[in-house]
Every structure is written in structure tokens, then in C-alpha cells.
Symmetry: C2
Subunit: 343 residues, 2 copies
């Protein structure tokens, strides 16, 4: 389908559910950006649940954002259960403003929602020739090392650096893999490595079916990923007073989510002349891209390059492919809202 | 041997080689802290090469540190090839001072040396009730994903958070494992996982002997570790204008190392009342420690807890065990300097 048709449809659907046009545009752009980059799990597949949460009173239709602490280079933004993408964009804008003033800035966003692809906020900073660091906590999915209970989120971590051309985009969740990859293994009838997931009793398993049946994701890189997840939980949940293990699933329709984001922005020009930085970062890219390849490897990719290329191709084509189940679910909500379905 | 005997001996050895007493005390304390915590690769085993580099004119005996940029919440410290531990401590002190003033602060240290255990600098911040983030680049050890050439360091990353009692200490290198672990596998006659290392041609290998014979370490967690290593290289080597692949080995006696450190300090009290933070972080610890365990697991450990416990035990005993080869090498330098050997 045409991307702009999906955009107009999704924006209308949010508008019919009370989301102001400017805020709907942010949310839809964020979701479409993920779909275009091949990251469907952060894409329009999330729109139906956002709308259901708005209808259930678990998310504010119109954002109510309030800066509750504003000091020198730092601020705290209370998102008051507004849509995560709107709160995230505002929080990062505040951190950028602080960094413009002081060289480095930070904004903690509390009581926020699911904000999608973390690197989107880092890209906001990169557009200003600053490095953006994005941390968030999530609903619990992982145990600590040696543990059998869901205690920590697979906390997203993004670091985005500006360049003259394509930014360098580091964006990851701290689990070894996403559950989607385990589902793929199951569908292929393959075993999974023992460090990907546990069964529902918390014991590491190589059987993807057991992992999917109430199992836990394991942290990437074992104790290193666990440690990083704790560090991010401290910079989000501990500062905000809302731990991962208190955050209900996005699909739990009884409770509000109180997610925290932590944005740090670094103005590179305070450390080195901007032109020198831009030259150096291109030299880093050129060096890595030109470096020796393993047999069978055609190209060395920079972090995020594959997704940026997919995004460019999708933009050039003007077309997007959405899973039929996602379209169906959105069309059911469209029928309820009295707007024409997406074909 | 008595830890204090090792301390006095090592300090005397540095002093005889021209290192001022206060600076020698910092270096020796850093090395002993690592040995006491069971992290011998950051311990006194590095003292001989530091002294050899001082003798060869590759490291300054007396630190020549100069703040070359000092703006609002940021600074750049030129370490001018001083000992890394002295430069690191000063750089972190500057970042702490900036954070005290502005809520968040950063210091880039350029032209620095091997600084040992990254978490030591984070602990400086935690003592002030601030979170300390420590990034550095290193001599190249790892290829990019799909690559066969040493292009990136296994860049150390530490995040240390204050608590009322033991700090929470995240500290890792970004390689899947250290070469030492591969040596252990070789000695046991075991194969290694294919995602630990390559042979000398850059092809992933499960043979530890091939990895040790000129092979490359692979990033932890595959493309995620590669991406993080690039992000850290941007915050260190790109800002400093000295990439990992330009940094010679610590054991190369022909060239100076120009390592960069990047310190970020976050004053938690700007985001939440300090008492609330301290309560929350204890609640996080208590929750994780009390959470369900996998069969056979006795205890859930916080990040860094095992090393902190070893350090306390070593402190209580007053004794330390150093490898015979390390003592022998130090004693050869002691003989040359005309000081009594360490027994």
C-alpha cells in the first residue's frame, strides 16, 4: 500500500479517538519510520493497542506533559500517562536544549508509555550535531543472572552520532534476542542456543516451544547484559520510582504503565571543533567499511546502516507492506470510529 | 604476602623511576584494588610495563595534565602521555565538579595511557552520590561484524551507582571474553564457542589454540557488542582524534599510546530527592536478590558484588597473592633501581 495512505489512515484513527492532530502526526511518523526500516515490532502493529489503551483510560488521548524539575543542565518531565512517542520527543527536545546551553544535558521522563524505536530520539539529537543517548525501562521480561523470575526489562539502549551524511545509529534491546526470533526458530523446527531463553520455570532451554510457552528472555552476553540492564534500570526506574517489575504488559488492559526514559545529549562541538569531529567520524566509517572481510562477507555495515538503507528504499518506493493481521485489527478500530478502512 | 608490603614496594619502585609520591600512590592503589578484587589483569602485573614505558620515554614519570577546554558542564583534559590512572582520576574529578555545578557533567581525557579498571573512576562519582559513566578506547583487538581485521578495542564500559552501602558496579569489556578465558579453555583441552574469537585470518574458530595464535577477539553479543564498541569509539577516539587502530599495544616499546577516556557524571539528586533515590536503589537490590533462582543457584548477585566481596575479604586479611612471574619481573626492576626485592 502507499505509505501516505497508511499515514493518513492512522492519523485519522488517532484523531477520531481524541488525539490532537500534531500529536497523532508524531506517533504515526514514529510507527511508520519503524515499519519502513524493517522494524515492524515498533511499527503500526502497536497502533491498535495504543488506541485500546486510550479508550480504556490507561493513556491520555491529548498529552499532558509537565516539567516538574528544571535545573541547570537537567530536567524531569512528567508525561502523566501521555503517549510515549509524544513524551519521548519532548523529553529529548529538552535534553537537546540543555546540551545546547551547557555542552551536555539530560532529561528524565517519568510516567510515560511505550515509546517505540529508541533510536528515533537519538536521531533528534544527531540532527543538531549532538550525540543522543537514550535509555528506557520496560515491562519485565528477563531474570537476573542465575534467576528464574521476570525482574528486568530488555531495556532499550540507543546511541546516535551525527555525521555529514548518514548518522551512526546504535539501537538494541538488552535481551540476547527478541521473542520473534525464537518464534522463527520454532517455525523452522530448530533448536535455540541455551543462552537465549528459559522455559516457564526459569530453566534455560534449547526448545523454542518451551521458551514461547511462558518462558523468559535471557540477557545478551550473560552477566554483561544483566549488568547493563540493571544500570539502565537505575537511570530510569530507580530515578523515576517505578521499577520494571511494577510495569504491566502493554496488553494488560487493567493497569497503567509507568515507564521511564532517560535522555543524555552531548554537544560534540564542546570537545572538538565540529568540522574535525565530522572528518574524524567519516574516517572511522571509511576505515571500518574498508577493513578486511571474513570469507563470504560482501560488505561491512556501520551500526544502523542496514535499517537506514531499508528506510531510504521504502521512502523512494512510497510503498509499505503491513502484515494482514495488523491491517485487519486497525480496520476493526476504523469501523468502530466510522472511518473508511485501509485497503 | 602482606598487601602493605606490596604497596610500599610498588610505590618505591615508581618513585625510584621518577614518579612523584602522590601520583605513585594513585597508580599503586588502583593496581592493588584490582588485584584485591580478583581482577589481576588490571593489577600489579601491569606495573613492570608502565615502568618500562616511563624508562623508554613513552610515558611521563611526573604527570603533565592540562585542561585545554573548560566550558559550562564540559571539559577536555590533555593528559600529555601521563600515567593513565593519574589522568583518569583527575578527569573524573573534573566531571564530578561539573555535575555538582550543573547536574550532569562530562570530561574527555585525551593523550592518556592504560588506566586499568574502569569502574575505579565510576566509584569516585558514587562516593559523591552521583552515577559515574566511564568509557575508553583501547588498542585494537576486535573486527567489526563480518570483518577479519583488528579495528576496534574491546572498549571498557563502566557505570557505577551510589547506594547507602555497597555501590552497584557495572564494569565490562566489550569483547565476548578476554583472551585469558580462551587460554583456560586451551589448557583444559576444550573447544570454544564460535562467537568468542577468530583465527589469525579472521575466520571464527572453535579451536582456542588458533585463537591465541594471532586471532581476534569477537564482540560480545555479536552485532550489539560491535555497535556499542563503535559508539564508545565515537565518544573517545573520534572526539580525541585518535582511533583504536592507531593505538599501539601497551607492550610495543616504539610508540606512545594515545588513549581517550570519556567520563559522564549524573547527580541523582537533580532528578529525585537523594533519600528517595537511596531507598529506591535498595528496593531494586532487595527485589533482585530475593527473586526466584534457577536450580542449583545459591544466590543472585548484583553487578560487581562478587568483586566487591573479594576486595573486602582481601582487605580484611591484609594479604594478597601475586603470580610468581609478576613478582619476578618487578624484582628485576627493583634490582635495577637499587631497592630491596619483594619477597
Amino acid at each position: 500500500m502507499r505509505t501516505e495512505d497508511a499515514r493518513a489512515f492512522a492519523a485519522a484513527l488517532l484523531a477520531k479517538n481524541g488525539v490532537p492532530a500534531a500529536e497523532a502526526a508524531i506517533v504515526v511518523d514514529a510507527l511508520l519510520e519503524a515499519d519502513m526500516k524493517g522494524l515492524g515490532s515498533h511499527g503500526l502493529m502497536r497502533l491498535p493497542v495504543y488506541i485500546k489503551r486510550v479508550k480504556a483510560g490507561l493513556l491520555k488521548a491529548a498529552a499532558e506533559l509537565r516539567v516538574v524539575r528544571d535545573e541547570a543542565a537537567t530536567a524531569v518531565l512528567d508525561a502523566n500517562f501521555s503517549l510515549g512517542q509524544v513524551a519521548g520527543e519532548r523529553g529529548m527536545a529538552i535534553a537537546i536544549e540543555k546540551a545546547a546551553g551547557y555542552g551536555i544535558g539530560a532529561c528524565l521522563v517519568v510516567n510515560s508509555g511505550h515509546f517505540g524505536m529508541a533510536s528515533r530520539y537519538g536521531l533528534q539529537a544527531a540532527k543538531k550535531n549532538m550525540v543522543g543517548l537514550v535509555f528506557a525501562n520496560t515491562t519485565p521480561l528477563m531474570p537476573p543472572t542465575g534467576g528464574s523470575a521476570k525482574m528486568l526489562g530488555n531495556n532499550p539502549l540507543a546511541i546516535v552520532a551525527p555525521t555529514k551524511t548518514d548518522p551512526i545509529v546504535v539501537d538494541m534491546a538488552l535481551s540476547a534476542v527478541a521473542m520473534g526470533k525464537i518464534m522463527v526458530a520454532k517455525n523452522k523446527g530448530e533448536k535455540i542456543p541455551l543462552d537465549w531463553a528459559t522455559d516457564k520455570t526459569g530453566v534455560p532451554t534449547d526448545d523454542p516451544a518451551k521458551a514461547i510457552d511462558g518462558g523468559l528472555l535471557l540477557p545478551m552476553a550473560g552477566p554483561k547484559g544483566y549488568s547493563l540492564a540493571v544500570a539502565l534500570e537505575i537511570l530510569t526506574g530507580v530515578l523515576a520510582g517505578s521499577f520494571a517489575w511494577q510495569i504491566p504488559s502493554l496488553y494488560n488492559m487493567d493497569k497503567k504503565q509507568s515507564i521511564a526514559h532517560f535522555f543524555v545529549v552531548i554537544d560534540v562541538a564542546r570537545f572538538v571543533d565540529l568540522e574535525a569531529y565530522l572528518e574524524n567520524v567519516e574516517a572511522l566509517r571509511a576505515g571500518l567499511k574498508a577493513s578486511g572481510k571474513q570469507p563470504g562477507v560482501q560488505e561491512i555495515f556501520m551500526p544502523g546502516e542496514i535499517e537506514l538503507n531499508k528506510g531510504k528504499a521504502a521512502l523512494a518506493s512510497g510503498e509499505i507492506t503491513l502484515p494482514a493481521a495488523v491491517v485487519k485489527e486497525m480496520n476493526e478500530l476504523a469501523a468502530a470510529a466510522g472511518i473508511p478502512p485501509l485497503e
